[in-house]
Symmetry: C2
Subunit: 395 residues, 2 copies
């Protein structure tokens, strides 16, 4: 086990009707709030009105900025920063999914940074301070409600980058799974794919002596997958969505990743897909992850053993250990079947990403495109040629 540090100051309030508590929960932090959200869904859900009422009841002033889109844009972040400066906002409340929350986090950081907030996404500056952020979650997927990270797309340059710091973990997050029961099936698939990828990125590691976190990863993977299939059949099941929602939080608040090297190659490869064709992040991950597994497991026996463990302990494969490769293949095949049952695409062609784009995307993902080929991943380090091979496995 590696040395680690974990610090999650988020006050998580989870369950039915919890949205009415938002005003009293953020009152100690907030003088004037930016209410930040996407489109009409939060209004249709009644959540917009509930939040406004709760803020008003708590005597908190607010301004608002809607219009967040999936793969949230830098331009709206800039707009939010300008509005907050003009209005003297000292607290950001995101209502929505990961896109609204990430956009809120970027505004919160931008409010405390003198230059362009994009500098921080590009690694040219560090996060030293941020306004406090709270969230009311409507989509379980990104895990941003309790995470230390945010991802923003720069529509001018076509780049999609993340930033990370404990300073951007929300101070309060409200998660009411009742809202999830209104989601379309495509969002179930995309969300669950993102959730389980957050676990895979932590699970596949070369760090040894990671029994506790291995077990935590395996148990959350199994439970989220089980309840995703329940929700696919019974989309209004509060209980299934509650398990998925709680799983999504734990998947990305880093309790499953402490003390172990993490990988993040699939996320890196996927960001290029989303940047190329504005697809849902989870949809891209569902295509890439089995291909990544197929490419990586062959590398050496040490890596393979972890795939045998995955197939056995997570996917329930009961094979002969004299033929570990058969166990691994069956595990990956079951994972693909799982994605299929959730209605997720099985290939890049279904996502309208042509082979002609592979080399550029691979070079961007690994840095080669920008003249600094760092590679991606840690379980197995991938250079751009590796990434092209993985994209090809997804054709």
């Amino acid at each position: 086990m590696q040395n680690f540090q974990i610090h999650i100051p988020t006050n998580l309030v989870f369950g039915k009707d919890t949205q009415h508590q938002i005003g009293s929960l953020i009152k100690p932090f907030a003088t004037k709030v930016l209410l930040h959200y996407g489109g009409g869904t939060v209004k249709k859900l009644g959540l917009y009105d509930d939040a406004k009422k709760s803020l008003t009841d708590a005597g908190i002033n607010f301004v608002e900025l809607g219009g967040v889109v999936p793969n949230p844009r830098l331009s709206l972040v800039h707009e939010g920063i300008a509005l907050c400066k003009k209005e003297g906002v000292d607290f950001i409340l995101a209502i929505g999914g990961g896109s609204s929350i990430d956009s809120a986090k970027a505004i919160a950081v931008g409010m405390c940074y003198d230059g362009d907030v994009w500098d921080i996404f590009e690694g040219k500056a560090q996060i030293e301070k941020a306004l406090p952020v709270a969230t009311i979650l409507t989509i379980p997927a990104a895990g941003s409600e309790m995470s230390s990270s945010a991802v923003i797309s720069n529509e001018e340059t076509g780049r999609k980058y993340g930033m990370g710091s404990d300073l951007i973990r929300p101070v309060v997050s409200i998660v009411n799974p009742e809202y999830f029961t209104n989601l379309p099936k495509s969002q179930l698939g995309n969300g669950v794919s993102d959730i389980i990828s957050h676990i895979f990125e932590r699970y596949f590691t070369n760090t040894t002596n990671t029994d506790i976190t291995d077990g935590l990863c395996e148990s959350v993977l199994k439970t989220v997958m089980k309840n995703a299939l329940i929700a696919a059949e019974a989309p209004t099941s509060y209980e299934a969505w509650a398990e998925i929602g709680l799983g999504g939080i734990i998947a990305h608040n880093n309790w499953l990743g402490i003390g172990r090297a993490q990988d993040w190659a699939c996320h890196g490869m996927e960001h290029e897909l989303s940047a190329y064709n504005d697809i849902a992040h989870g949809a891209g991950l569902a295509v890439l992850t089995p291909a990544w597994m197929k490419y990586v497991y062959k590398d050496n026996s040490k890596l393979s053993n972890m795939f045998v463990q995955f197939a056995t302990k997570v996917m329930g494969v009961d094979g002969s250990f004299r033929d570990p490769e058969a166990i691994i293949k069956e595990g990956i095949s079951r994972l693909q079947d799982f994605y299929k049952k959730l209605g997720l695409a099985q290939s890049l062609s279904e996502l309208n990403i042509p082979e002609s784009a592979f080399e550029d995307m691979a070079k961007k993902a690994t840095g080669a495109y920008f003249g600094k080929e760092n590679g991606i991943g840690s379980f197995k380090k991938l250079m751009w040629q590796d990434v092209v091979e993985i994209y090809k496995l997804c054709k």
Copy 2:
């Protein structure tokens, strides 16, 4: 799943050599610190000197108070409060195991309460404020390094009570498992018994739809038990102790207990044993827990099913489900074998607690002794007669 709230502001720093960071980590909170510890062990370990040097290097003033004993005493808490008031202390640093940390938490609360801090343990007053507390852990067991609770013994009245509030979660906790490799085998057994009991108290629940937390409980139980047996054979194994240490933190910071009713009957019954004969908390729990299981599983089929799950998923029993009672009995038997392998006592007579004491202890545990029989436990509510029967099963 029940609605829940979880808020753990503790900054956890885990791993080798981390004790040297204490000064810089608490600097933002502390002007003058009380260094609070037990006996000579922290000095023998070199930890006392490391901590003093780190505080001095960070320019933090401190006074000190040693002398904490297992089942920590109210009299020392009073002494600590008086010292802190006289010296203008605004931060408490506990160095040691759960006893030192709980004593520190009680001092921190007492510093912000006008009456006698024992009022709070007796439920006559609420915790409204507390000085910040940090910890450097030397014994994995109580989980107090990231928990919201503390237990103190009043040696005048013979009562042992707990208090709880998010306000007493440490702001910083340093956990360096290197220190654990010096512990005697008795402490391994007592500590692991306490850790797994913290999970059992959360695991056995009547709340339904608790898949995620069921799985988390099962995986941490299995891993802690596996690594306890490794540490019993190889007491200096850093890696085994790191797993136990991390397991002990997760066992009691409440990530495993969210959204589900918790039981706590075994802890209640055990506190009477410790109060009667000043035995180690974990030693008492190891005797009581199998007896509690034997008494409770027979109650009805709903409860029994949870014991079948425990036997199957945690203790690895592979029996015929046409005879669930055989599966349950084998699971309990394997748990007893586990305690035995760690050198723990198997009966109350070994702990010098005679049958003549059972009725009084049972009545104290359930409140009947004080004229208010509330019972204990929630998985199955136990009245004093039930508790006597359980004690008798431990003779």
